[in-house]
Amino acid sequence: MSTTTVPTTRLKDLPRPQVVAHEVPRRRKAWIDWVTTVDHKKIGILYMVTAFVFFLVGGIEALLMRIQLGAPDNTFLTPEKYNQLFTMHGTTMIFLFVVPMMAGFGNYFVPLMIGARDMAFPRLNALSYWLFLFGAIVLYISLFFNPPEAGWTSYAPLSSAAYSPNGGIDAWIFMIHLTGLSSLLGAINFYVTIANMRAPGMGWGRLPLFVWAILTFAVLLILALPTIAAAVTMLLTDRHFGTHFFDPSQGGSPLLWQHLFWFFGHPEVYIMILPGFGIISEVLPVFSRKPIFGYKAIAAATIGIAFLSLLVWAHHMFATPLSTAVLAFFMLSSMIIAIPTGIKIFNWIATLWRGTLEFKTPLYFGVGFLAFFTLGGVSGVMLAIFPLDWQLTDTYFVVAHFHYVLVAGAVNAIFAGLYYWFPKMTGRMLSEGLGKTSFWLTFVGFNVTFLVQHSLGLEGMPRRVYEYADTGNLHALNLISTVGAFILASGVLVTVYNVLRSLRRGAVAGPDPWKANTLEWFTTSPPPANNFDVVPRVRSVEPMKDIRRTVARATGETSGRTERQVRA
């Protein structure tokens, strides 16, 4: 493999720290290769596949709950089972699906997009993945004993030893610690990689927006995770070692748990969605054949959202005893987030504006993301108004809101990313027909499931109830929602089938099937072990466009394909 020549002239040309292969290792059995790998691409795939499996598991849990709620006073599930299901569903989707999925995309594509040969700390990277997997196993092993049933928020005192005596909460605490440690190590790795291993010429102003998003995601994780680690440790000592942090009868405070949890929990929301924003910022310009509109504004808005996300946690606590001044502060800080978010949405629409939109599947999911996220954002601003929130909080209105931003937002972004990058990861294209079928099924299924849940909340249905009486429109609305959930699930299954089928039968992709803008398309599909033989000098935020132009000029072809010999 390659080594780089070391220029000795000027300070800025000093070598970048990078991974250099010294030998070609012997081939080992495939499974040993996967288990022992420290290659960021393989680790990325491990992350994504594991996370996707948990997406399916969490989806099955959701379907079971929707069956239970399909009819009033239903007895399909016991209250105990129902509480276990929504606890596992929320915990799974957040800690075992969206965050690790985004970490998977980051793992695979950050080094490729910045022209690096691996992450800064490859072994630490492998450790991150295995900690995540063990965390997931710890949580799911509780299925055979007592799964937790206090919700993904595990509010004290409900989660204390007195009211949740069995070990489910302890499994949950252990899972938070393991996945938290995994994310923390991963975040440090991302930060160091992005700060130090960018291709020559790739200043901060030429960093792909997905990499900006992952950088912000990493910083937020580093800032937010210690709080939840402290909180669950306090819960653990309350449960087993005689402390009383959250026990009001001994001078502790249940509200302390809520503050600590949401001080982590709200940044966590942006930890889940910012990488999705990043994916959208990559997909939209490629398929509209236009540069991203307002690169600096989008990057700045990403950082602005991350900063504000640390100042809004108590908007989850508007119904708790807080003074009006505190309520007003958190209302204002929450509503102000609408400004950078609005800036992003307008910039994305402006990116599409006057482009030539090529409606491939990634763009379908990208536009679907914009449509859904706007709705979820608008209902989010309504929830930020605390006098309104007093009516809306803890009802299905909130459930609808956060599924619009997270499921529709994050999942559409993840699917956009999957359809966009699958050719790079496997060398094969996903089927466009199946992809579009999957899009329309999930799009329709999603709206049918969650639009009516706004009305359910307004009619007075609280969340986390295992049954409801047959009053008002509750039955009809719940039934519609249940039907929608199955349509949504069928759309997801179409994509699963598409992936499995295309792994073998998909059309061969070539290095750059979309004529995209960023460096991952400079190498082969799938990329070799150390990614690049030669890292080109980056001259703009769209290095591949420059390279194609250079090739065209050099060869005299008008639509020159990328040649790997091209040097900058």
Partner: protein, 269 residues
């Protein structure tokens, strides 16, 4: 445009949160209508723009994508526009807030049952004639204690036209007090007092609600009713309830040697 606004208001009115029991719920509903109209304008505007864009700018033969990198004036424009919307929403919210947060005066014909000393930070009722009720959330039932010590479970009976101030707390885990037609939710958290108020005017009305914060397996069954009666019927109810409780206490005192030392606690409703 005015017609569209009217339609939006009608829509907001039709889907809004439950209302009609108490002025604070009504004011919340008014706030909701204003906010939804603004939200619908933004939503339809942005989604419409998005729809127009994806239809209008599909790739066609001979069309060349415009290589635009940005536009500072536009950026400033939509930043200011978004900020203005936030300002408008904030002004509207604070304009409606007193009507939702501050109790109104009791009506002229009120029961004088409420003579409790003010606690830490309760809402101030103009004229001071209020009925204070302590609301206590427990797995999985609500207990209501009246100023004279009389208590009831699950069903709260209140006199019409009387401003009722609730002091809400939790006994075991966190619960949340919510009767949609009588206003928003207030969490019942052990170790904390939370306050809200309502003033119901329809005699004979029963307002239903339930616990809104996950409190355990039977969270869904932790129901509450508020029954509105005339002031005289309220006095009668209170006296009857008091007599019942006294009789029950006498009976249990008589039977005390036979019973286990656990305090008597009514079962599941």
């Amino acid at each position: 445009m005015p017609r569209a606004l009217g339609l939006a208001a009608v829509f907001a009115n039709a889907i809004g949160p439950e209302t009609g029991g108490s002025p604070n719920a009504n004011d919340t509903h008014t706030l909701w209508v204003v906010v939804v109209v603004i939200a619908l304008i933004v939503l339809i505007g942005v989604e419409g723009l998005l729809l127009y864009t994806v239809i209008r700018f599909r790739a066609r033969k001979g069309r060349v994508p415009a290589q635009i990198h940005g536009n500072t004036r536009l950026e400033i424009g939509w930043t200011v526009a978004a900020a203005l919307i936030v300002v408008v929403l904030t002004v509207v919210a604070f304009a409606e807030l007193p009507g939702i947060q501050d109790p109104v005066k009791s009506g002229p014909q009120v029961s004088l049952a409420g003579a409790q000393v003010a606690s830490i930070n309760p809402p101030h009722v103009p004229g001071g004639r209020q009925l204070n009720i302590d609301v206590n959330g427990q797995q999985y039932v609500w207990r209501f204690t009246y100023p004279d010590g009389t208590y009831s479970y699950t069903e709260m009976v209140v006199p019409a036209n009387q401003t009722v101030v609730l002091r809400i707390t939790g006994q075991d885990v966190a619960h949340s007090w919510w009767i949609p037609k009588l206003g928003g939710k207030f969490d019942a958290i052990p170790g904390y007092n939370n306050y809200t108020w309502f003033k119901a005017s329809k005699v004979g009305a029963v307002y239903r609600g339930q616990c809104a914060e996950l409190c355990g397996r039977n969270h869904a069954n932790m129901l509450a009713d508020v029954r509105v009666v005339s002031p005289s019927a309220f006095r009668t109810w209170l006296a009857t309830k008091k007599a019942q409780i006294n009789a029950a206490n006498r009976d249990s005192a008589a039977a005390a040697p036979l019973l286990s030392p656990l305090p008597a606690r009514p079962g599941h409703p």
